[in-house]
Amino acid sequence: MSGALLEVDGISVSFDGFKAINNLSFNIDSGELRAIIGPNGAGKTTFMDIITGKTRPDSGKVIWGEENVSLIKKSESDIANMGIGRKFQKPTVFEDQTTRDNLTMALKNKRKPWAVLFYHSNADDRAKVDDIADEIGLSDHLDRRAGDLSHGQKQWLEIGMLLAQEPRLLLVDEPAAGMTVDERNHTVTLLRRAAETRAVVVVEHDMEFIRNLDCKVTVLHEGSVLAEGSLDHVTQNQDVIDVYLGR
């Protein structure tokens, strides 16, 4: 498909003989919201590892953007700077630093040590941080240590850090894990709003959460795509019922 923001074509990777990803192909357009579901061990996390440069596939292609750049041999930091942001399953914020410092570090700015050493906070950046804090509901917690935030707030801070990076593609791993119902609803709103200006891929187990996201769903199984389509479409697919929903 031309015009796709990210094009994953026939990738495979195995660890000690175990095929974690098996001839997987996947496309996402700019501005698309997509959910990925699949049982444990379906290869969801490995899939994200490959896109973000943490794991190198044994074969296949990962093509990014209008200029069709291959991501296969790029480092994690290069890929992040090209516009792919990633949120981990476990909230990973820098607990020793304040919410403001966490967001400022993530802001899209020069990443070279020299530029970072002589960085001076400016009104523009401060306004951006305030806007993001407002969006993720942490305006009153900007000067608190991130480690003192609640679990849900840390998840939002991490999403906020992703927004600060201004990525064109956001990969989000189980954002609703361990959240209360209210927090989940807020997270759905955040992700849907984020998807208005960029592509978002959400990996999630929770069916209710995915229904609220109301988007196209890809089902992974044993490292390949089993089905793709609307949530209703895939939940009626016999294969999907057999391997995932039927259990």
Partner: protein, 392 residues
């Protein structure tokens, strides 16, 4: 206070307090010195204090690389020693040359340039059975070049070592072991007679500055004391500026979760390399100031154990607090010289006498364990409630 530096100081009063105390200490020692004051601080004690300031400076470097960046380097004393060797080569060459030239002036037959060179060579390398200048001494007659090498040799070694290690993503305890191997390999190499740096004899007579033979040691000791205090103040300010900048945030983030920092788009390896090399250079400058006060440097100085002591100082003083590193290095190294210098009174238990020369290390080991288990923030952590209140 005016200017950006003034603003910085007001925002971080601990820096102002530290620099104030350091200045006060320098003034007190100057007033008490034999050269400038009442003489209640002996010249040998001025040297001990000056050397302690150099230890404090390398401890600051260790705190930056370990306490802030999370790289437990157990090899930074190699850089300290290399810095000492580089300045020591010039000191030893130039002083020997002056002695030889002086002797030649009194000789009946004038000596040729070659004869003078040979005589210097014999003086310096006679102990290892040679008289030829090894290649590494090529610039030993040029003060400014050797001074540049103080920074360049350890800096380039750190750059190459760090590049290889960080690029292969060696982290944690494996990196620590690798740095130990580096300093051990360097020490073993220097122990050899044909290493070109006089084997286990090392370089000696470094307290005598060329051309200043008639200047009393009481005066020279003060010069080095001042230089060490100045370098410590400057080093403190530099490291504080770094850790309080956005780079400091990134460096601390690398310590806490380097994989996450990569996904933020920062090239973690470059940052680690920058900090590792910078701290190696600071360590080298500390060494270049230390050894002229110690008078002698030999390969035993860069044995693996020295770098481990450095980590112990910083741990006891409190990681991630620059003044903690200074406190740790000062307290532990001064106590160490007190206990091992035979000044501490032995304790007689009747059936057994505790000799501190032997038991000091046991005491140090026990304190290290206690600090690690019960006071993980070290001595510096005791000041946290003052600094936290002032610097928010």
């Amino acid at each position: 206070m005016q200017g950006p530096l003034g603003k910085f100081m007001l925002k971080h009063p601990s820096t102002l307090v530290f620099l104030g105390l350091l200045s006060l200490f320098t003034i007190i020692v100057t007033i008490g010195s034999e050269a400038f004051g009442y003489g209640f601080v002996s010249t040998s004690f001025v040297k001990t204090l000056g050397k302690t300031l150099c230890f404090c400076l390398i401890a600051i470097a260790m705190d930056l690389v370990w306490g802030y960046c999370g790289i437990l380097s157990l090899g930074h004393f190699a850089f300290f020693g290399l810095g000492g060797y580089m300045i020591g080569m010039w000191l030893m060459y130039e002083r020997t040359r002056l002695i030889v030239v002086n002797a030649a002036e009194n000789a009946q037959i004038p000596m040729t340039h070659q004869e003078i060179q040979d005589a210097i060579g014999t003086q310096i390398f006679g102990v290892v059975g040679g008289s030829d200048f090894p290649l590494v001494w090529a610039f030993s007659h040029l003060f400014w070049v050797q001074l540049a090498l103080v920074v360049l040799v350890p800096g380039i070694l750190a750059l190459i070592f760090g590049w290889l290690a960080f690029r292969s993503r060696v982290t944690g305890v494996y990196l620590s072991i690798l740095t130990q191997a580096m300093t051990l390999a360097l020490a073993l190499y220097l122990f050899q007679n044909d290493s070109g740096l006089r084997g286990n004899n090392g370089l000696s007579g470094l307290q005598n500055l060329p051309g200043l033979e008639s200047t009393d040691q009481s005066l020279i000791s003060m010069w080095f004391f001042w230089a060490s205090a100045f370098a410590l103040g400057l080093g403190y300010l530099l490291v504080k500026l770094i850790v309080e900048s956005k780079l400091g945030n990134v460096v601390r983030a690398i310590r806490d979760d380097e994989a996450r920092v990569r996904f933020l788009g920062y090239n973690v390896e470059v940052y680690k390399l920058f900090i590792f090399t910078l701290t190696a250079v600071i360590a080298a400058i500390a060494g270049a100031l230390y050894y002229p006060q110690a008078g002698i440097i030999n390969p035993a100085e860069i044995a693996p154990i020295a770098s481990i002591y450095l980590a112990v100082w910083v741990a006891i003083g409190g990681r991630g607090r620059i003044y903690g590193a200074v406190i740790g290095a000062a307290v532990v190294s001064l106590l160490s010289s007190w206990f091992t210098g035979g000044q501490a009174p032995d304790i007689s238990l009747g059936f057994y006498t505790i000799k501190w020369v032997d038991w000091w290390l046991v005491l140090l080991g026990i304190s290290f364990v206690i600090v690690t288990l019960y006071v993980p923030k070290g001595i510096g952590g005791l000041f946290d409630k003052f600094t936290k209140g002032a610097e928010q």
